[in-house]
């Protein structure tokens, strides 16, 4: 009844190739955009906005990893390292040269993209698990380099304090303002990814993932596209890292260690490989999981456990739930949350006349 596909006639090529050809889709997206972009910063409380801010940063990073892993099939455990490259580049540019954010953030992304290309070079010779281990090595080596090369890491402290971003002289200080700031970048990332995967480049990526040898035979330069995928994915990661540093006010290498890379892998897999909506779901899910665990335990556990015991339990329980959910999704629904969403949507396609 709602999801009407019949009766929608397109009269131009542009209409046919649009991102959201159906009116229902357009209304839904417009409503979401209206809610999150316009209504939220004005009405949500500061705490909830701060949660959303964390999710927005994760969304950008997860989209990047999805391009590399979901669409091009290259396993990468180095997401955290690329984020740290972007973060430190942006931080150094701000602190040393005083550049505004619309230069430092793309610069951070570009630097991360360069490093990403370097890390992607082994993909010429190795695939699959070996490539994954190579990216793991890259993660650890980049961590070490940033920590030890004081020129990059800002001295012995290896953390650089970053002032708030400012637009035309107005400093973006409140949570709501930062929220709008991050939202712009997130929207850019989402739209860019949606278009990327429908383009020629996106199709080449999918070809590399599915049948790389056949792709090479028909003339797609798989090495070139693999490097391109690494570059784009690292660009996203660099931007995400820079954004996170702006939000937290500090670039600190301890924020970008191996467990962050694993978190992003989990986001993409739980959300659903090869799906933009999946990355968004996965990013929100994994980011809010520790907080939700804490709420749930506080709400129910307060009945029979003291405060101290709870505090002890929560983080370990969070790890167990986190790992358990990964395994659960892998066994039960390998296509992730996106597939669950699609199932719901498919149900509503014929509703209420689904017989």
């Amino acid at each position: 009844m709602f999801h009407r596909e019949a009766g929608v006639f397109k009269t131009s090529y542009a209409a046919d190739m649009a991102l959201y050809p159906l009116p229902i889709a357009r209304w839904a997206v417009a409503a979401c955009a209206g809610l999150f972009i316009a209504v939220a910063p004005l009405t949500f409380g500061e705490y909830y906005l701060s949660l959303l801010n964390l999710c927005l940063v994760a969304i950008v990073g997860a989209l990047g990893l999805n391009i590399l892993l979901g669409y091009t099939g290259q396993i990468s455990i180095g997401q955290g390292a690329f984020m740290s490259v972007g973060a430190y580049t942006a931080a150094n540019l701000i602190v040393r040269l005083g550049l505004p954010f619309w230069i430092t953030i793309p610069a951070g992304g570009l630097m991360a993209a360069l490093i990403g290309i370097l890390v992607g070079i082994p993909s010429l010779r190795i695939k699959g698990i070996y490539l994954a281990i190579a990216t793991l090595a890259a993660q650890l080596i980049i961590e070490w380099t940033i920590n030890h090369v004081h020129w990059i890491s800002g001295g012995i402290q290896a953390s650089i304090e970053i002032p708030r971003p400012s637009l035309f002289g107005h400093v973006l200080a409140s949570e709501a303002e930062i929220y709008v700031f991050l939202m712009c970048f997130a929207v850019l990332a989402i739209v860019a990814t949606l278009n990327l995967v429908r383009s020629r480049v996106g199709r080449a990526f999918i070809a590399v993932r599915d049948q790389d040898i056949a792709a090479e035979i028909i003339g797609i330069n798989i090495f070139g596209y693999k490097l391109y995928a690494f570059a784009i994915s690292s660009f996203y990661a660099g931007v995400a890292g820079a954004l996170e540093s702006y939000y937290l006010g500090i670039a600190n290498y301890e924020q970008f260690q191996l467990d962050v890379s694993i978190d992003y892998l989990a986001m993409v897999i739980i959300g659903g490989l090869g799906s933009v909506l999946g990355s968004i779901f996965g990013a929100v899910f994994v980011t809010l999981l520790p907080i939700a665990t804490r709420w749930a335990l506080e709400a129910s556990g307060g009945l029979f456990l003291t405060q101290a015991n709870l505090a002890d339990l929560v983080p370990h329980l969070r790890l167990v739930i986190f790992g358990g959910l990964i395994i659960f999704f892998l066994i039960v629904e390998p296509d992730g949350l996106a597939r669950l969403w699609r199932n719901i949507r498919n149900y509503f396609r014929l509703w209420p006349f689904s017989y």
Partner: protein, 299 residues
């Protein structure tokens, strides 16, 4: 570069060899699983940690003797190995490698959180019935714990090499690793051998856990030694038992010598990233490692 001193280098080498053999012990578990079931186990460090926790808790909380706790740890890990294979790995048969990798990563998180929930958060010590004082050989000092670890590693290298070459069960496992379909056609029960491989890896992890736990103390940070497993197996070959031990030796020696000579130059930390640089070189030049089998992809 600091001057080359004979005694210092000798000490570095000795330490490197012993630590390297202990790395090899952990890598053996990884290789066993890969060799038999083609699964990359990112949770190897957590296995070692979990086993160490079992042994430490048995000794400290339940007051069992060292041998009883070690035995309990072995038993516990065998049961864990069987259980994990059944619950987590069986459904993953035939799935792409990224899925199995992520499953073991998820497993690692569950074990890390679960170990503390089950055994408590503080650091525990494992007391081995061997002297504390280092053995003085004149030029070098040998730590008894490390010596034990190295000895266990060599013993198991011998045992597993014999096992895979000569015993029926070992040959059957190799057959399963080579080609599951063919093995099934010949009448080998593939699932039983998968379970057995995980159980054996559990045993090796238990031994590794006891020795590493005695050396470093048992808490959930012990799992981080598992990260060292990757350079070791890449250098040695993912599916080679000998490679695990030799790779461990190489990594141990390179680490120590690099740390001894390069640390003053670069300001520390070479120990952590030297093996990874070595690993990347190995991946570029000879991905299958020193003793691994060349993977040939058939189109």
């Amino acid at each position: 570069m600091p001057e080359f001193e004979w005694q210092f280098t000798l000490v570095l080498l000795t330490n490197g060899v012993m630590i390297g053999l202990m790395y090899g012990l952990i890598a053996l578990g990884f290789v066993l699983i890969y060799k038999a079931t083609d699964a990359i186990n990112f949770a190897q460090g957590e296995f070692v940690m979990f086993a160490a926790f079992i042994a430490a808790s048995a000794a400290n909380a339940a007051g069992l003797s060292f041998w009883a706790s070690a035995g309990l740890a072995i038993l516990g890990m065998v049961v864990l190995g069987f259980g994990l294979e059944r619950v987590v790995l069986r459904p993953m048969i035939g799935r792409p490698v990224i899925a199995v990798v992520m499953a073991t990563i998820g497993l690692a998180a569950v074990l890390r959180g679960g170990a503390v929930l089950a055994f408590g958060a503080g650091v525990q010590a494992i007391e081995m019935p061997i002297p504390d004082e280092p053995i003085n050989l004149g030029l070098v000092l040998l730590s008894p714990v490390q010596l034990t670890g190295a000895a266990v590693s060599i013993v198991f290298l011998a045992v597993f090499t014999w096992f895979f070459l000569k015993s029926r069960v070992g040959i059957a496992m190799r057959a399963v690793a080579d080609g599951q379909q063919v093995a099934m056609a010949v009448g080998i029960d593939v699932r039983r051998y998968f379970a057995l491989a995980w159980a054996m890896a559990g045993i090796v992890s238990a031994l590794g856990g006891v020795v590493w736990g005695a050396m470093l103390g048992v808490d959930n940070q012990l799992a981080l030694v598992g990260l060292k497993v990757f350079p070791v197996v890449i250098l040695g070959g993912l599916d080679s038992v000998l490679g695990a031990v030799v790779g461990g030796l190489v990594v141990g020696v390179v680490e120590n010598v690099a740390a001894g000579y390069l640390d003053p130059v670069v300001g520390g930390g070479t120990k952590d990233f030297a093996p990874y640089v070595l690993m990347i070189l190995a991946l570029m030049i000879r991905p299958e490692g020193l003793f691994g089998r060349r993977r040939i992809e058939r189109v």
